[in-house]
Amino acid sequence: MAAGNWYSQSGIGDANNASTARGIMAALTEASKNQEAAAHPVMQAMLARDAGVGQMLGAYGYGVSFADLGSGKLAAEIEGSEATPTNFSTTNVTVTPARRAFTREISDYARSLQESLLMGEIGPDVEVMLAYEGTRLWMNSLVDQIAALASSATNTIGSTGVPLTWSALNEGILDLKNRGAASGRAMALVTVKGAKDLADDALSLGGAVQMAPQIQGLLANATAGAYVASLGGVDVYLNSELDTDSGDDLGLLITDGAIISKHQQVVLPREADSLVQAGFYSMELRRPGGSVSRIETVAYNGVAIAENGRMAAIRYVS
């Protein structure tokens, strides 16, 4: 007696749906290192001060005056005579926020991310990914803006045309301390070339330096993200936003108060289709000129060197 087809004879081949199930994940990018830099206490303190200032209320910029206080000393004066007054002196720094934007077309996003799920509306998972991207875009820009300031730092660690050495960085930290700037946390951004220079140099040194715990931190750790080591109290991170200058890489060492930022929050009106209103940046959906829908990530911000003594460029051959 015929038993008919085996039930196991057909399986996935009979499926009518030509599409496969699809998950969405954020692709690996070297820009992810910016998240760690942006999360460093030096950066967080800068942003906390930025937010603490609040809205600029119609002003085009935000300024800080640095008053020369506490640097003088009492001078010997003859009894009964008056001391000559010393004038106050101040240094003024102004940050003027400017608009930065990054735009996506929703249809392009849908094609790229939803493909088989395309139904005219963006799904909640894609919406979350858009918001996630907005945060990353803002952070990338902020770190890039700060890294660009290395070429105008008035203090330099290292020398042109030669690799970065442990002793050069060590001297730079001592110079920083000598300027009175070494209080609290410090962060250094270097390219992978700079980190390799440092590691090769320090790990090949003999004696106490080679065996010091902080030098052991230079032994590469694949689980530590972009963080390399804490050398002399300076947290060293790999970064890819750093500038180059005629054959040299320009890393950056900053301490608390070296750089100021100012973000101007643009409050979107009620009729705006706002995806994210995060203060430091916003994301707005709109259909300009009746065209396809776009999502625009926007930040109004600026950065400036507040006090050069609190920072240094790190120069070494590329």
Binding site: S152, T165, L205, D243, S246, N308
Partner: protein, 230 residues
């Protein structure tokens, strides 16, 4: 001096296509990079290929950066901040030579070029100094560097702030850090220390090379020819 006169043409430079291989492939660039104005200081100096030359600072034209206003400007705020720190802006119409050719009449600046290409799949505009130019091989890009032209430009920049030559203090400011690095390299008794020493000595002006290292930089004396024995 602004990069272009006010009311003049915008920063739009020449399109990248110039009839070479680059016109057939999209130029891969490191990422976006805004234009800048070089600024030179009489006290920010370095030793480079045996000369004391200025370490230039870049005053970016990026809106919102270090005092720049919000609109599209030409780095006036940034330049102003650097001038407050003793820097002098290098004019964009200074006479320069790069890769053996005069830069007179360069559309953007005597020392900057503008390139359009892509980076990570996205169109970008990248500015480079005139002494670096891209060379594309398939999908790879390498950057050629006119080192001698660059040094000539640095000498021009130095002349802007030290027209009568360098005083002793300036030379010492440039030389002292290199001498410290040399001492550190000498303290290491290994091949790495020797490599550092060689690299550092190549940048130090010969007259400042420590006496105990002169034999490392002086060219070897030609050996006398001996009469061949028959």
């Amino acid at each position: 001096m602004p990069i272009t006169p006010s009311g003049g043409p915008s920063l739009a430079g020449p399109s990248f296509a110039r009839g070479n291989a680059l016109s057939r492939a999209q130029l891969q660039l490191p990422g976006p990079r805004d234009p800048w104005t070089y600024c030179v200081s009489p006290t920010r100096l370095m030793c480079f290929d045996g000369e004391v030359l200025p370490e230039l600072a870049k005053a970016w034209h990026t809106p919102g950066s270090n005092g720049n206003a919000g609109g599209r400007g030409q780095g006036q705020g940034f330049v102003s901040n650097l001038m407050g720190a003793g820097f002098t802006p290098v004019p964009h119409d200074i006479e320069t030579t790069a890769f053996g050719a005069s830069r007179a009449g360069a559309p953007l600046s005597a020392y900057l070029d503008r390139y359009e290409g892509i980076s990570r799949g996205r169109p970008v505009v990248y500015h480079a100094d005139a002494w670096h130019r891209p060379k594309q091989l398939g999908h790879l890009v390498s950057w050629e560097h006119d080192r001698e032209g660059w040094k000539a430009f640095l000498r021009q920049c130095l002349a802007l702030v030290s027209p009568d030559g360098l005083v002793d203090m300036q030379v010492e400011m440039a030389v002292a850090p290199v001498l410290r690095r040399i001492q550190a390299a000498q303290d290491r008794d290994d091949a790495r220390g020797q490599r550092m020493l060689t690299a550092l000595l190549s940048h130090l002006p010969p007259e400042h090379v420590p006496a105990d290292l002169r034999d490392q930089v002086e060219p070897p004396k030609p050996a006398r020819k001996r009469a061949r024995k028959e």
